[in-house]
């Protein structure tokens, strides 16, 4: 039996005004287990806390009920008080007689009556409380960053700068991501490569950073502070440690007609290739689908010309296992496929391109060496039509496209239009828009400059049909402000395709037990207050995997994610929330129902040997909860058919005792 002390707070007149505090402390004195009951003006004050501490000592209290304000206000205070007096802090229960009683009821009789009932419920609960101790787990002081775009790069650099080792896993042969493909960046128009490539070099040179390029995460086990990750290093048929990146092999390779993915297929590369000049690591890779040696066993030229002896046609996928304390997801985005939007004739004409293709067409390192020439005939286009919101902001019942705004298109389209007019003033540039969205520092000014200084023709309306005919693209569109339909003979049409999360994100989320929204963007732990954390402890979000973002936003989120990781890795041990689920193994059926509802993947199963009452042994599958991962929601407790699963601090028996006390 507990020895319970009851402490009724007046809160000045806040409680005492509508609750007869004396009556409450008197009434509760008679409750089972209560050995001491008193009231005081301000329980949370130093003097009030001293009353509690003294009573704990004097009456050898094992449990405390404070009838006061909301537990959200002072539960932590009174727990500390109890701890200071040598009582387990989880032996404290609060009866909320201010916010949920004195403040909402005017009549002193009803207020008092209800306060007594709430006090009784708290006493009933505390009678069933048990001391709880938060568990501790050690932290592996190494972080994993999945994705080597600007988001992953920035996160890795920031973590490494704080002195923690970081690994980057990048599925492509080089880090750099989408930003490496961009030409200029808005709104300052500095060249993307000029600001990105130094960072890529920093990554390569940082002692704390390892890059697993052309690699994927194959398996993730464990939990916050203690993740076990298997990384699949895909065969690139070139020994990374030997290759010097001299490029001799790529020049001599006879298979030169492979579409170059870095330039989105607008030119070709060789079967052995280095993605681009500033690639990190600058190591060649053989494309097994194109290489004659790998397909037919004939050729072997690259091996002959390689002075470093780096070519290895027999290389196999390698699996590497590593431990991490924190994982940052930075898997980024891709433009959506234009397949479903062929009213814009993307599949019918080479001269209908996406904005990312346009970036490559204007990039000095691109297929046209930075000259704006249209893909079909390499002629300079004189009339260019930009179409915004292609596949963005679509209603779900339209059955194609995305419901969200892709956020970056308004600005990069303004950039494209402005740069075109700047470089080629003889070009007519039309931008069809639904709304121009420019909330960002210097963004609207930038857009206005495109219109006012560079003469870009912004038209409020939408293109309805693009008809390639002869060497023209006949664009039919609406001009809503002029209330007319336009027919424009364009040379080039640029579609601002919606962006979507990378396809690798969904299987990754499953491995991480991290949640995603219906669009496959990772969900943050709280949309406002914890925007860079995933609800799964130890998993953090960086960049466009969480939602559409431009570069400055991505970089700031990357830094924020890094600081959260640093905060985690700086700890030697993690203290958990002791109010977690636990399973009574004798009652557990091993049915996996609890595992299915656990949002955190905290429940696992093991086969355990049990001694039966008849002295035989029996092997049974039983659930076990990892207290470091469990967050204490209690979903499992209700899902459990046998009632084996219970929640510490909010046990079924405790809640039912409260129900009984209230209903008595």
């Amino acid at each position: 039996m507990q020895r319970v002390g009851v402490f009724v707070c007046w809160c000045g007149s806040n409680i005492a005004g509508t609750v007869d505090v004396q009556a409450v402390s008197d009434a509760l004195k008679n409750e089972p287990g209560v050995v001491f009951s008193t009231n005081y003006q301000y329980m949370c004050s130093q003097a009030g806390q001293d009353i509690i501490k003294n009573a704990i000592a004097e009456y050898k209290l094992t449990g405390i009920v404070v009838c006061s304000c909301s537990p959200r206000m002072h539960e932590a205070t009174f727990r500390k008080t109890a701890a200071a007096a040598g009582l387990n802090p989880y032996m404290v229960e609060i009866a909320n007689i201010r916010e949920q009683c004195s403040w909402v009821h005017k009549d002193i009789l009803t207020g008092t009556e209800k306060a007594i009932i709430l006090g009784k419920a708290a006493v009933a609960k505390v009678n069933l409380n048990a001391p709880l101790t938060p568990g501790e787990t050690p932290v592996t002081k190494r972080a994993l960053v999945i994705g080597g775009g600007i988001a992953g790069i920035q996160t890795a650099l920031d973590i490494a700068d704080a002195g923690f080792p970081v690994d980057i896993v990048e599925k492509n042969p080089t880090i750099g991501g989408k930003m490496a493909q961009l030409d200029k960046t808005f709104p300052t128009l500095d060249c993307a490569a000029c600001i990105l490539t130094p960072k890529m070099v920093d990554v390569a040179q940082n002692e704390n950073i390892r890059i697993f390029s052309f690699s994927e995460v194959a398996k993730i086990k464990g939990f916050v502070g203690n993740f076990d990750v298997t990384i699949k290093k895909k065969a690139r048929y070139v020994k990374e440690e030997l290759c010097t990146g001299c490029g001799a092999c790529t020049e001599k390779c006879p298979m030169k007609k492979v579409p170059n993915e870095f330039n989105l297929g607008m030119d070709t590369r060789s079967a052995i290739y280095i993605p681009f000049a500033q690639a990190v690591p600058k190591v060649a890779r053989i494309d097994p689908d194109a290489c004659n040696m790998l397909k037919k066993g004939k050729c072997g030229i690259c091996s002959k010309v390689c002075a470093a002896g780096a070519i290895d046609y027999t290389q196999k996928d390698q699996y590497i296992e590593e431990k991490y304390g924190a994982i940052v997801v930075a898997t980024g985005f891709n433009p959506i496929s234009m397949d479903k939007f062929d009213e814009f004739a993307y599949s019918q004409s080479k001269d209908v391109i996406t904005s990312l293709e346009f970036e490559r067409l204007t990039n000095a390192a691109g297929p046209t060496a930075g000259k704006l020439l249209r893909p079909s005939d390499h002629k300079h286009p004189h009339t260019i039509v930009f179409v915004q919101c292609v596949g963005s902001r679509c209603d779900s019942c339209a059955e194609k496209g995305k419901e969200y705004c892709s956020k970056i298109c308004c600005m990069y389209t303004a950039k494209h239009a402005m740069l075109t007019r700047d470089k080629y003033p003889d070009t007519e540039v039309y931008v069809f828009y639904i709304d121009v969205r420019t909330p960002g520092k210097n963004f609207d000014e930038f857009y206005r400059r495109a219109v006012e200084e560079y003469g870009v023709k912004y038209i409020k309306g939408m293109v309805g049909k693009v008809t390639p005919e002869g060497d023209k693209l006949k664009v039919q569109a609406s001009d809503l402000l002029a209330n007319r339909q336009l027919q424009i003979d364009a040379d080039l049409v640029v579609l601002a395709a919606a962006i979507e999360p990378d396809k690798s994100a969904r299987p990754l989320a499953t491995m991480l037990t991290a949640s995603m929204d219906t669009n496959d963007f990772f969900t943050e732990a709280h949309p406002k207050l914890r925007p860079v954390e995933s609800p799964t402890a130890g998993v953090f979000l960086s960049g466009a995997c969480q939602g559409p973002k431009d570069i400055p936003e991505t970089v700031s989120q990357a830094g924020a994610a890094a600081s959260k990781v640093i905060g985690l890795l700086a700890k030697d041990k993690l203290t958990g929330n002791p109010c977690v689920a636990h399973s009574d193994e004798m009652m557990c059926n091993g049915c996996s129902t609890c595992e299915r509802v656990c949002p955190y993947g905290a429940i696992t199963y093991e086969d355990k040997e049990f001694r039966m009452p008849d002295r035989t042994t029996k092997i049974r599958r039983v659930a076990s909860v990892n207290p470091a991962v469990c967050q204490g929601c209690g979903a499992c407790t209700v899902a459990c058919p046998s009632g084996a699963m219970d929640l510490k601090g909010f046990a079924s028996a405790q809640i039912m005792a409260e129900v009984d006390a209230i209903c008595k």
């Binding site: 009213e343 902001r393 639904i434 409020k460 939408m462 039919q476 609406s478 809503l480 209330n483 339909q485």
Partner: protein
């Protein structure tokens, strides 16, 4: 019928939700009959939404829509402007003596090759 009732009638008949429209103008950008119309597809949507039905009821635009469904197919918001045109046209021609085309009009419009389908369709669209 007052405008509010008319609007409701139109929305009920058509099943269209004009409030979903985000004013992108793709319907009018894609409409093949645009040049013949006094009110264009996007205007049908916004005018119905605003309860301005009478001008539409009296407009020749009702008889220019080809029912080609391009606006329905291409609308990113699933608004289906052509269904509004159809509903308003039906309200117009269902009124007494308001047929847009009568049997007497037909012979003058025929040539030797015109398929039956054209006559039937036009009749469906233009008269009750």
């Amino acid at each position: 019928m007052n405008n509010q009732n008319l609007k409701e009638e139109i929305l009920r008949m058509s099943g269209v939700h004009p409030e979903k429209c985000m004013r992108c103008g793709k319907c009018s950008g894609t409409c093949p009959a645009y040049s013949e119309m006094e009110y264009h597809p996007h205007q049908f949507v916004s005018m119905v939404d605003n309860g301005e039905i009478e001008p539409l009821l009296n407009s020749e635009s009702l008889y220019k829509c080809l029912s080609c469904f391009a606006c329905i197919e291409r609308c990113p918001r699933g608004v289906e402007p052509a269904k509004l045109v159809e509903a308003i046209r039906l309200i117009a021609i269902r009124r007494q003596g308001a047929n847009h085309m009568t049997a007497n009009d037909v012979p003058a419009l025929l040539d030797a090759d015109i398929p039956q389908q054209a006559i039937v369709s036009a009749f469906r669209k233009y008269s009750k």
